[in-house]
């Protein structure tokens, strides 16, 4: 358990001009995990991944992949890592099978069986020209090229981007196939929380360049709670509640989303003397949206009476 994490960063920071794109990132990805790296567009996920792969120099801080400093990744270490970029850069003039043969020359551990398995899974003909492939098929081919070297660590930058549901399912199936070997680690960024829920066991959430959460998926879900308070009249103004993410009021109800719901949170809410107080768990997507959405109290309906109270 105390083994060195497969990915580790310490204070990893990158500025573009005066703007911090990634700020003081401390990340630890344990071996064997399926780790989802989440955050809104522009939150710094791709920049982080590019720094991890040594493609972009950190402004300060650093990290390691498979125990090797990210500023000095050796070819031997790189050969143990599979990296899939957002844009699948492929030679358009080659045939599917040719690109496989070409790529295999660079990897001592190339497994043709995996390559053929994945392209088959995505319904690709070995004789097809790369430039004639659809977006989903290109993704399948890029994934096949990434998986065939049998990498210990797989880093996927938004692999589901632009895929139709069928291709996305094939992608997730391929990821699950990879977990057959318990020492394989997958680190992937995604916006599809349904897929994340299926495949990930750990998540990290970046928000405006800062790491806000890094824990198991279940811990994250469990820590965000929705509370429904019912009142006879107009709900009273909300006092400061520890861990408040959002509050939403309707005529007789106050719907409050909190992180780390504790007895203190409940006490603060009970002081409002609601007719009833009901706790309900949130789905991953709702939890994520409350967590990263705008904080504070919102209302669509009673904006006018709000001013009066």
């Amino acid at each position: 358990m105390s083994e060195t994490p497969v990915i580790q960063t310490r204070g990893l920071t990158r500025y573009y001009g005066r703007k911090a794109v990634v700020q003081d990132l401390n990340l630890e990805v344990p071996r064997g995990s399926v780790f989802a790296f989440l955050g809104r567009n522009g939150s710094g996920k791709t920049t982080t991944i590019r720094m991890l792969m040594g493609l972009l120099a950190p402004t300060r801080g650093g990290g390691s992949l498979l125990g090797c400093d990210i500023r000095a990744l050796t070819p031997a270490v790189r050969a143990r890592i599979g990296y899939l970029t957002e844009e699948h850069q492929l030679y358009g003039w080659m045939k599917v099978k040719e690109i496989g043969e070409f790529q295999s020359a660079f990897y001592p551990r190339w497994r043709a069986k995996i390559f053929n398995g994945v392209i088959g899974h995505f319904g690709l003909r070995p004789e097809a020209r790369v430039k004639e492939l659809s977006r989903g098929q290109r993704a399948g081919l890029a994934l096949a090229l990434t998986l065939a070297p049998d990498p210990e660590l797989l880093i996927l930058d938004d692999p589901a981007l632009g895929l139709d549901p069928v291709a996305r399912r094939s992608l997730v199936e391929s990821m699950i196939y990879l977990t057959r070997r318990s020492d394989r680690t997958i680190f992937f960024s995604s916006h599809d929380l349904g897929d994340v829920e299926r495949v990930a066991d750990q998540i990290a959430v970046l928000d405006y360049s800062v790491l806000r959460v890094s824990c198991s998926l279940e811990t994250f879900r469990g820590s965000v709670q929705e509370v429904l308070l019912r009142f006879a009249g107009v709900p009273p103004t909300l006092p400061p509640v520890p861990g408040l993410l959002q509050a939403f009021r309707t005529k007789h109800e106050l719907r409050v989303t909190c992180v780390h719901y504790t007895p203190e949170t409940e006490q603060a809410l009970r002081k409002l003397e609601p007719l009833s107080l009901e706790l309900s768990p949130l789905g991953l997507e709702d939890a994520f949206i409350s967590y990263l959405g705008e904080r504070g109290e919102k209302s669509f309906i009673l904006a006018d009476t709000e001013v009066a109270s």
């Binding site: 997730v172 699950i176 977990t179 929380l193 349904g194 768990p281 789905g283 997507e285 709702d286």
Partner: protein
Amino acid sequence: MNLNIIISTGSSTPIYKQITEQVKLAIATGRLTVSDQLPSVRALAESLVLNPNTVARAYGELAREGLIESRPGRGVFIIQKRRVFARAEGRRRLEPLLDALLGEAMAMDFTPEELRSVWEEKISQWKPKKGAE
């Protein structure tokens, strides 16, 4: 064996719990009985397209509750007979389902009489399973 688990993502019920609840329901309704075999963790994970740890967690929970047992080298088996909850506990479990049913029915403007007749019809179709105590 008749195990037909349906997983929905985006639900407020975690996936491992969707599995445990559906296995429990299958036992409660007699679709699964003692010594029926469940798929291995890996097989179920791949067929449902889930992280195997999620399935392992569900099986772990079912094993802790004494419903299933993993026999090394042979597989995972149902070991618990259909169990009848104490009436009070059963009532407690039914309560939220009844609330949900009533809420839906009210939202769709069912009258109490209509609802009663729907309910009667449903009950009349229901055959108690063999083995029920």
